[in-house]
Amino acid sequence: MRFVDEFRDAAKARALSAQISALCEPGRHYKFMEVCGGHTHTIYKHGLEDYLPETVTLVHGPGCPVCVIPMGRVDDAIAIAEQPDVIMTTFGDMMRVPGGNGSFLDANAAGADIRMVYSPLDSLKIARENPDKRVVFMAIGFETTAPSTAMTVLRAAAEGLENFSIFCNHVTIIPAIKAILDSPDLRLDGFIGPGHVSTVIGCRPYDFIARDHNKPLVCAGFEPLDILQSVYQLLIQLAEGRSEVENQYSRVVPWDGNPRALKAIGETMELRPYFEWRGLGFISHSALQVREAYAVHDAERVFDVPGVRVADPKACQCGEVLKGVLKPWECKVFGTACTPETPIGTCMVSSEGACAAYYNFGRFSRDRVRQATALPSPTVRVPSS
């Protein structure tokens, strides 16, 4: 597969790994946060940590849009789905997220009509084909996905499809990163920036991180070599005493983002004054809602939504995991009460959640795994002469 396979080349990975080791100052520990759930997934899926020295730690951030949805919003969505003549449509990831009273999957089994779609356009198609039903699209995601939802709303408006609406749970990345930077618990050396969000917002929004907080950020692609190269670039910056925003994913990310995408979002949506993020609490101007002009396509206006705030279960420590303060295995209920089969929190449900990634892919002692797979440690230390 072009533009994929060449960025998974093991030989190049070994070379990068050697350079990374060479760049590490003896005795110094490095902590880089990869903001994006997609990065978390790639790291575990390909066993990327085998290529990093012990002194480099990748911390998982809050960039998993499913993970940050509070339980109350899941309940709201289910309440909409349970109304007569409603077809609720959603991405696959949402199906097993537990609300206060069960998940979409449970609601579907109990008689609600909830269908999985790959694209919001598929949802629109269902609306076209079912004029007597009210079709709702569960819109989740960061700025990567918001333009697609926006374009779909614009299409719905153009076609006069009044039976189509969205339940908007789009969130924005910068406030989440700000919350991390303002958190006293974390001492990070740099950021691996969210590559696909950046195709929309570009790289400029991250300037404040380098300028005001003195931390380098490298906007990274999603193949294993992309992430390794980004770590390499971060280490070079640190070695040279720089803190800048760099674009490793330049084959896809334009520095100024995608103006048409931003225009579509701006036309159909506006920032909410505040929004609750699971684990991070209320953050102002961090989420999107549908504009008045498109009210007929706003599920929150069309339906009566309970809007009850549901507190996370006491045992759940998703918040700290999302902030990178706790590693998945440090959560008290990880692997015992909270497993992919019986998830308590969202980090364990979403395939991009740190806990799910760690549980499914990485949970065994790396040494024992390496022994069993008979792979020598690919991190070769090039000795200093």
């Binding site: 072009r2 533009f3 070379a15 350079q19 990567t144 696909h196 195709t199 490793q248 048409r260 090039v382």
Partner: protein, 90 residues
């Protein structure tokens, strides 16, 4: 954070110019190219696909540059390793 996959544009649909048929490893799907500028992509171009939309045209020059950088690192590594081995022989 979101699943984006590269695909090759096969054709722009005649009756719906905001749609393109895209091929990902032999699997085809119609993708909305409304987020790209008019005429920005045509058959043979590659785009990044996310939930049924093309988000960006893949810049083949930049991809080539990225590969060259990685190859360069690989080269440096091999030279270093070769030097390492040589020095041991002495």
């Amino acid at each position: 954070m979101c699943l984006g996959i590269p695909g090759e544009v096969v054709e722009i649909l005649v009756d719906r110019p905001d749609l393109a048929m895209v091929d990902v490893s032999g699997v085809k799907r119609a993708i909305n190219i409304g987020l790209l500028d008019k005429g920005e992509v045509g058959p043979g171009d590659w785009v990044l696909i996310h939930v049924g939309f093309a988000m960006s045209k893949i810049d083949e020059e930049e991809a080539k540059a990225a590969m060259e950088f990685l190859e360069g690192i690989g080269q440096a590594y091999e030279e270093e390793m070769a030097a390492l081995l040589e020095s041991r022989i002495e």
